[in-house]
């Protein structure tokens, strides 16, 4: 309900009774009268109301008659009280509402023909319903259109001052980028301070605007709603898995809209704990890559003169022939495959079946290896589960949230709203541990700035503090006294002073947050790339396990450990077994029962267990000549990995390199065969988001030119290799998955995972914990600056750089971001040039002042390969999971005198 009655999710509001149009209805106390009316299914028009925020009461439409009052009352701002007698219908109310519409219409410009909202306009609908005719005294505002922002245009002539944009920005997004201003005799919406709007550009204001006052630059004037075909699908950018509507006209994507809209304004505010239906800037404005002219439309094959277009039959024949040759000549172990986790579950499933059953190799991996695999492996080992433990509702209603190493508002913006709601609505204590002052840290109760790369150490400190302060959960610990003893012994080895000096956090603060975390009835751990993609990521995950275990957060409801995911379907890639260590269904590859099962399903012998190379291993074996053929589906290791990983040498060594991608990538340029693949907008299938929701991806377009769906190409290769896979439609693949992994297709309602730590605690825990807590001293490098390759809100991987909208919002500035102090120290100004030197080499580039960078570190977006900063970074491999770590490195900066 819209008026927030409770700030703690534990309190239950009292129930009251009131009379509505002669019927008695019950409602929760303290909610808005409008909500009570709406909950009975009656729709009273209201233009400024939206269930996601507090009633505003500016439109004057939601009038109802209350017994005992002479004039109609606004039901949205009136609180429902017991014994009210309300009438919502009647000629008098109709006329009063009509008058309210007339008021809005009389200053509205006559521009339906050129307005983008025409046909999707609440003012139009309400005016039409109320049959307003012959307005007297209509006048024009003649306000110039504000086109200064990069994304949104504000035409305040059309504004009805409902304030929905301002309210959603303030109450839901908690960004508060918009405000009312009185200018020229009219109330207008402007960006804060009447400046050009610069915000996170989530576009929720655009979605809720009931008229055409806010329009989007990327689809401006390009459509009318009745021309568009709307396809409900799942966003392809991050692991949040937001539902969105892809609106297309013929072969063009015109715009993306969200379930959040003014059309969808009736709901229960309590439901927003499951998400508010909005999107972020990437989902809403990053759609241009789909119908980009750079898309491949024809297979390419390498000839003496380079890559040339070839018919499918030739390209397929070439690829299959070479694969067959390599297999015959060197054996199946000479073939490996990598797939991107932006593919659907069905693609991923077919890929691993193709590699294992058709080719007969276990050298396969997905982009989950870049970090998420640490979390999955750790959780699978310790708890027997493979994904995050909490739902978004649980996160919203948590009392304490420990957010470690995740710039969540940038990497997973929609998931971050749950943390924001926890802070804003439910007053949760939020402990943010990060190496930069992130946006979420600004809202948090306990923002802790640690030194780069010491997040894991901080968590160890928390465990030590909890053990030593005796904040442990007796029940959890007593079940495994040996394990606890081992932990106690392990934490003794590290000292608070070391931790404090290395992380830069005072000991008191460590104790304080440890206490908060341990004592809160519902504490949730959220982590991100700051832990999973930093050296020791796998161990950090297990440290989080220690933390949750000793505080009892593994067994208490509403608590758990969670990791946010960067690419859309990393979870699905792991679930579908696209990793050498797992078979589909998160079964271990060397588990005899599982091997037996899948070999029966596929009618083929599986490659022997104990083999199987992961991403970095594959590249290493390519380099050594052990692997002769590489099949890449949407992966582009050349652009992703630093030069020190020596990918180019590895790829050059190959006899066959097959690339399958919607675009011609850097790696694709080196390939022998390039297959044009479809993007998510053309696919039919499912994706699994980080919460485990399996959601549909539906085709909005036909693949352009001769490009084909990923699994079609794999099935074609399998045919050409003489062992066809029995799939005619996506449905066939889904049927097989459904048969073999019942309940995997959960229709967006994943079953709650159950943490089972006992087996692990009883067995190898004792010896492993001892290794984890070793006093580490960070190598005192001679490089004074720490270069962090960061993710930007406006980008996701390399894919988003193909979306012209996102590139317009956030172009590659080719600048290194530094704190002002450092700039002063180096004696350069904004725009000045520095030479960045690492062990691998050096590059010259301009600098930019950035307050969100800590002194002593510098940042550059990982999405851009130009200038080639990432090639200067060293790569470290996780000894257990093989995850490559290259996000952080020590650098020296030398100012270059401007000539």
């Amino acid at each position: 309900m819209a008026l927030k009655p409770v700030t703690t999710p534990d309190a239950e509001a009292a129930t009251i009774e009131l009379t509505l149009d002669g019927k008695t209805v019950t409602a929760k106390e303290g909610v808005s009268l409008y909500d009570v009316i709406a909950s009975t299914g009656k729709i009273v028009p209201a233009m400024c109301y939206h269930y996601t925020f507090d009633p505003f009461g500016s439109c004057g439409m939601c009038l109802v008659m209350q017994e005992g009052k002479k004039a109609p009352v606004r039901s949205c701002t009136a609180k429902a009280t017991a014994g009210m007698v309300i009438r919502t219908e009647g000629e008098d109310l109709f006329l009063a509402r009509k008058k309210a519409v007339e008021k809005h219409l009389s200053v509205h410009p006559l521009d339906c023909p050129v307005c983008d909202a025409d046909g999707h306009c609440e003012l139009q609908d309400t005016a039409f319903q109320h049959g307003v005719t012959n307005l007297a005294n209509a006048k024009q505002k003649n306000i110039p259109e504000d086109t200064r922002s990069l994304v949104l245009d504000f035409n305040m002539n059309r504004c009805i001052a409902c304030g929905e944009c301002i309210n959603i920005c303030k109450d839901v997004q908690r960004i508060d980028a918009l405000q009312f201003i009185k200018k020229g005799g009219f109330t207008q919406v402007v960006a804060k301070g009447d400046q050009p709007l610069v915000c996170e550009f989530c576009g929720d204001c655009l979605a809720v605007c009931p008229v055409g006052a806010i329009t989007n630059k990327f689809s401006k004037y390009a459509y009318k709603p009745w021309q568009l075909r709307k396809t409900t699908t799942t966003c392809n950018y991050c692991g949040d898995g937001c539902q969105m509507y892809l609106e297309t006209k013929d072969t063009d994507v015109i715009r993306v809209t969200s379930p959040l809209s003014w059309k969808n304004k009736w709901g229960d505010r309590a439901d927003t704990v499951n998400g508010h239906g909005g999107l972020c800037v990437r989902g809403r404005f990053g759609f241009q890559f789909i119908d980009s002219p750079a898309r491949l439309t024809q297979p390419l094959v390498r000839t003496d003169t380079g890559l040339i277009e070839a018919p499918w039959i030739d390209a397929m024949d070439l690829a299959a022939g070479r694969l067959a040759y390599v297999k015959a000549q060197y054996g199946a172990q000479a073939i490996a495959g990598l797939i991107t986790a932006r593919c659907t579950n069905e693609d991923l499933y077919v890929f691993q079946r193709f590699m294992r059953a058709v080719i007969g190799t276990n050298h396969l991996d997905s982009s989950a290896r870049y970090g998420h695999m640490n979390f999955v492996r750790a959780m699978h080992r310790a708890l027997g589960i493979g994904r995050m433990m909490n739902t978004s509702a649980e996160i919203t209603k948590a009392n304490a949230i420990l957010l470690v190493g995740s710039n969540i508002t940038e990497t997973n913006p929609v998931a971050s709203l749950r943390v924001k709601a926890a802070i804003g609505t439910y007053k949760a204590q939020v402990i943010v541990v990060d190496e930069a002052p992130t946006n979420i840290a600004k809202l948090a109760s306990h923002p802790l700035l640690v030194k780069p790369g010491t997040e894991g150490l901080f968590v160890q400190g928390m465990v030590k503090s909890i053990v030593e302060q005796d904040l442990i959960d007796e029940e959890a610990v007593h079940a495994h006294p040996q394990a606890f003893a081992a932990l106690q012994k392990a934490v003794e080895k590290i000292s608070f002073t070391d931790i404090s000096t290395q992380t830069g956090i005072p000991v008191d603060q460590i104790h304080e947050v440890a206490r908060i975390f341990a004592e809160a009835p519902r504490s949730v751990i959220l982590c991100g790339e700051g832990l999973t993609r930093q050296p020791g990521g796998y161990h950090h995950m297990l440290t989080l396990f220690d933390l949750a275990w000793v505080t009892g957060k593994l067994r208490q409801p509403g608590c758990g450990i969670n990791a946010y995911i960067e690419e859309a379907n990393e979870q699905g890639a792991v679930d579908m077994g696209v990793a050498p260590e797992f078979l589909p269904g998160l079964l271990r590859f060397d588990d005899p029962a599982a091997r037996e099962k899948w070999s029966r399903v596929w009618g083929a012998d599986l490659p022997p267990s104990g083999q199987g190379a992961h991403l970095m291993d594959i590249l290493e074996r390519c380099r050594s000549g052990e692997i002769k053929a590489l099949y890449l589906v949407g992966e582009n290791p050349l652009a992703t990995l630093p030069a020190s990983a020596n990918v180019e040498a590895a790829l050059r060594n190959l006899e066959v390199l097959i690339c399958q991608d919607p675009f011609l990538t850097d790696t694709g340029r080196m390939a022998h065969v390039v297959f044009p693949a479809a993007t998510f907008a053309e696919k039919d299938g499912t994706m699994t988001n980080q919460e485990g929701k399996v959601q549909f991806v539906r085709p909005a377009l036909d693949p352009p030119g001769e490009s084909a769906l990923d699994w079609h190409i794999m099935a074609g290769l399998a045919d050409a290799l003489g062992s066809p896979m029995p799939y005619e439609t996506t449905q066939d693949i889904q049927n097989e998955i459904r048969r073999e992994l019942p309940t995997y297709y959960n229709l967006g309602r994943p079953k709650k995972v159950e943490a089972r730590p006992d087996a692990y605690l009883a067995s190898q825990y004792c010896e492993e914990v001892d290794q984890r807590y070793t006093p580490v001293t960070l190598p005192s490098e001679n490089r004074p600056f720490r270069l962090r390759l960061i993710q930007l809100l406006y980008h996701s991987g390399k894919l988003s750089t193909r979306a012209s909208g996102l590139m317009a919002i956030s172009p590659n500035t080719k600048r290194l971001h530094l704190h002002r102090e450092d700039l002063e120290r180096l004696g350069i100004h904004q725009g000045g040039r520095v030479r960045l030197i690492t062990d691998q080499g050096s590059v010259d580039l301009e600098v930019e002042e950035d307050l969100s960078v800590m002194p002593g570190s510098c940042t550059f977006p990982e999405h851009f390969t130009e200038p080639p900063l990432k090639d200067l970074v060293s790569v470290q491999l996780d000894p257990i999971t093989g995850v490559p770590y290259f996000k952080l490195t020590g650098v020296t900066l030398e100012p270059i005198a401007s000539t």
Binding site: L110, C112, D118, G119, D125, A127, T133, N134, K224
Partner: protein
């Protein structure tokens, strides 16, 4: 359809050596099966009839329909109520105005709209003009089918005058789309009124001329008297309507007995036949043309200036000049054209007396701007149902007369 399938298996699948021959109906050796149509000049479009003949006599006939099926009823579900009007032009393409009229009446009944007086008069006048056109067309083609060519030229000459008048009224001669939900698109201009008045004086002597050709012509009489007889009882059972029903002596005319438009304000009589044969129906149609002239004349005299569209902003289109200057009218214009009006939930049937018979529209609405289902009761289709009954025992040549006597148009029959 099941019946049809039986027929087909009888026709095509009899193979004496086939073991199951015994179980099939016996095929009488002296019987001849004749496929008449679908490309036959006198089947009035693409109608096919499978005739079982004994000599030249029809033993059984099976109409095969659907050659002109365009899914009009389905199309209705995919457009607004307003957008369906041009589709109705193409039902009985000879008499588009009456189809428009029948459809608009049905939607108005659904929406509960009262049409202004002048619009009612205009609608009635144009509907009666359309009736005359329809009957002229029928008379010409029926006579031509039977072998009298001259009448065809004369009726088409007079029909041409009226079609040109339509062109001047609404811009098209056949596919008129002049009726609108809640009124009509365009008012008569003084010239149009003058022209129709001139026609009223011109036309009655012409009817007498046609009669001279046919009424006592012995060939015409031989080909029409006692041909395609149907009793009043049978006609009612088959659901016939219009002149086909009245020819059998049933006095049933919706204009009179379920009156609509300006008909209640006009005096006219409903000609009723006696014998139920083709000649009686011919006579009824001739008389109806005379009555139509009377109705038009009365309407022209009674009609007073006034609005031609109902003013129901949620359903009817605003006048164009208001759209340019007035926001509500512009909203109205955009909402009505892009989304249509919101019809109440319910279903209605509305029958209108077209010149062929009762043309009914059955609309099921589940709310929103589009019909959930729209069913057209097309007289031609219903009349074809009685074909076998009426054709048995007649000669092949009479089959042509029998199609003609219904005034069948396949556009409406197959829809």
């Amino acid at each position: 359809m099941a019946h049809l399938e039986d027929q087909r298996s009888t026709v095509y699948h009899v193979d004496p050596s086939h073991p199951e021959t015994d179980t099939l109906p016996t095929l009488r050796t002296e019987e001849l099966l004749l496929n008449m149509g679908p490309q036959h000049p006198s089947t009035h479009g693409v109608l096919k009839v499978i005739l079982e003949l004994e000599g030249e006599r029809i033993v059984k006939s099976t109409p095969v329909m659907g050659f002109l099926h365009r899914g009009v009823e389905k199309l209705a579900e995919h457009g607004t109520y307003h957008q369906f009007i041009p589709h109705t032009d193409r039902l009985d393409y000879v008499c588009a105005m009456y189809n428009n009229f029948a459809y608009c009446r049905a939607v108005e009944k659904l929406m509960g709209i009262t049409v202004p007086d002048r619009a009612e008069y205009l609608r009635t006048i144009v509907a009666e003009v359309q009736r005359i056109i329809g009957h002229l067309f029928w008379l010409g083609t029926q006579a031509l089918d039977i072998g009298a060519m001259t009448v065809f030229f004369y009726t088409f000459r007079d029909r041409e005058i009226l079609l040109d008048w339509f062109d001047e009224l609404c811009g098209a001669r056949l596919t008129t789309s002049w009726y609108r939900i809640g009124g009509v698109e365009r008012d008569f201009t003084p010239e149009l009124e003058q022209k129709i008045r001139k026609f009223l004086d011109y036309f009655p002597p012409k009817i007498d001329e046609y009669v001279v050709f046919l009424e006592r012509n012995r060939i015409w009489l031989a080909r029409t008297k006692g041909v395609a007889v149907i009793s009043a009882e049978d006609a009612l059972s088959f659901g016939l309507s219009g002149p086909t029903l009245r020819g059998s002596g049933v006095d049933y005319d919706l204009r009179k007995y379920e009156s609509y438009g300006a008909y209640p304000r006009c005096e006219f009589s409903v000609p009723v036949g006696k014998n139920g044969d083709t000649y009686d129906r011919y006579w009824i149609r001739i008389e109806e043309m005379r009555e139509s002239i009377k109705i038009i004349r009365q309407c022209m005299d009674q009609m007073e200036p006034g609005p031609i569209m109902a003013d129901v902003p949620s359903v009817t289109l605003p006048p164009k000049e208001r759209v340019f200057t007035n926001l509500e009218s512009m909203i109205q214009q955009f909402k009505l054209f892009s989304q249509g009006f919101d019809a109440p939930v319910g279903e209605i049937y509305c029958g209108t007396e077209a010149h062929k018979g009762e043309l009914g529209f059955y609309i099921v609405s589940t709310g929103g701007g589009r019909p959930y289902r729209l069913k057209i009761r097309a007289p031609s289709f219903i009349h074809m149902g009685a074909f076998d009954h009426m054709a048995r025992g007649y000669m092949i040549a009479d089959a042509i007369t029998i199609f003609g006597t219904y005034d069948i148009v396949m556009g409406e029959c197959d829809r």
